[in-house]
Symmetry: C2
Subunit: 343 residues, 2 copies
Amino acid sequence: MDKRTEISAFGEFGLIRPLTEKIELKNPGTIKGIGDDAAVLDYKEKQILVTTDLLLEGIHFDLTYVPLKHLGYKSAVVNFSDVYAMNGRPKQITISIGISKRFSVENLEELYSGLQLACDIYGVDMVGGDTSASLTGLTISITCLGEADKDQIVYRSGAKDTDLICVSGDLGAAYMGLQLLEREKKIFKGEADFNPDFGGKEYLLERQLKPEARKDIIELLAENGIKPTAMIDISDGLSSDLLHISRESNAGCQVYEDRIPIDFQTASMAEQFNMNLITAAMNGGEDYELLFTVPLTDHDKVSAIKGIRVIGHITKPELGNFLIGRDGGEVELKAQGWNSLAN
Amino acid sequence: MDKRTEISAFGEFGLIRPLTEKIELKNPGTIKGIGDDAAVLDYKEKQILVTTDLLLEGIHFDLTYVPLKHLGYKSAVVNFSDVYAMNGRPKQITISIGISKRFSVENLEELYSGLQLACDIYGVDMVGGDTSASLTGLTISITCLGEADKDQIVYRSGAKDTDLICVSGDLGAAYMGLQLLEREKKIFKGEADFNPDFGGKEYLLERQLKPEARKDIIELLAENGIKPTAMIDISDGLSSDLLHISRESNAGCQVYEDRIPIDFQTASMAEQFNMNLITAAMNGGEDYELLFTVPLTDHDKVSAIKGIRVIGHITKPELGNFLIGRDGGEVELKAQGWNSLAN
């Protein structure tokens, strides 16, 4: 049997220490991490990016099929993704955890090992946090700080008429991964061990359970001298996030169905589920790919980068926001992202 | 009857907007607040202080007797207090809220009005956040950023042998306020309206429900040319927080019972409750007063400041940490702060 140490074996003060005492600070700008009233950072001439996320059990994640280490990894990575979406580099995070008695110290260590792994891979320092009891379930709150040169920050608001709309990677796989996990959960309901066979669908599961932030794309854009005019990461779904860009930029947009990048496993799963593939790709969410616009003059440069696809272009605001189908038909884009408050 | 708008009437995306759209940014260093993937801040040559807190219903607050506006105010202020405790100035906060269906939009507005009031009074910008459904209760997660000149930051670790130990305001009142509220809650149990008479005990309630961060003390110290050698805010209780300083500074300490500042209402309430007054003052917590050390040579300067009391001095580490009683007896200090995980 796995070792189980009750959380109450540690005091509140004692708990955060063993989890964080091995942390070695990586960034010279991290002057003081965990251990005082506040962390101390130095960004010198850089500007500071701040983003925050609150993740609640039963709303944002389901521990039936999400391993705690993966949950920790994903919780950190989605915050890094927000910083990259500003064309910045994540540097520090603070992590607050609320846990009920259902969890053991070993569970908490697992969660932290995922958080730490993400920090190691992305070069981010864990500089603060808080661990507390909770009456029910697991609560994770993360704030991420990052840096950018003032003239390199990319907002949602800079897209201009005729700009090209680009997207990294492929879309809809994370959503299909979720559908798959939800289906298996229903099948396995009542059985103690949840251990289904996901052979041939590993990519979908990985996209859902262990997404990556597109650090590589941000670096490729910089290497190729491309500064996007507007950028956002796709967390709510392509439709919703594209609408954020066009609204903030006071513009319209046209994207082409046959340009939307979709992986083979996503397509095959959609067929199996008898779901509309393009709906999954447009509205699925949680892809954490980068959606950005570049001037038309960057067409050749951006097209040459592997892993980036031009999917459409920005228009005047009065032209609205449309998906152009394979048959030439137009469908107006609507925000249909995953909405945790509607449930 | 009060107006009640269901939270579900708004989408997740729509909810944060009406609550935050009236925000006017106050600090020139706040380049971009709410509305993009991350907030953008500029600290120029200053260093950045970051502190975070997670507050869970039933663990950190009890809505039976805590009005939502007060809860919002206190949630913000306790974070500002951490920044002041580094000798910094709070500048921005991010606020994430998880709420169950039990709450209405009007409830959320009340909570935000308290958060906003605190931000207005302390000159802090609300720059980000997240609002989400929760399955049970209310969750509040706040991260506060502040600034300080590099050479003005005060850590817990700088206290030296013979330094004077100082404390602002008075201690134990917040704890007594909590005891009072808990007692009345028991008395009123089962009755729909919780509206007891707290005449003559207003100070205790205010200290518990609407504490202030000691911005004024930080400013007075600066005006008088005093830079503490170590500082912390008293959130866990004088004993615990003093032990943080002596441990981090590799020192010991002696404080004198007859020097501990205690308000008349606190003393009178302790008598009524038949509680040990000095225990309440030493271990009560949530006072959010500043505990700091200054060199012996600053004795006259610091003693002249109204609202600051010298309560003892730092010793060599091998002498340990002691409270010297009125009769000259010594009691070793122990961390007995409020421990949310032991419950």
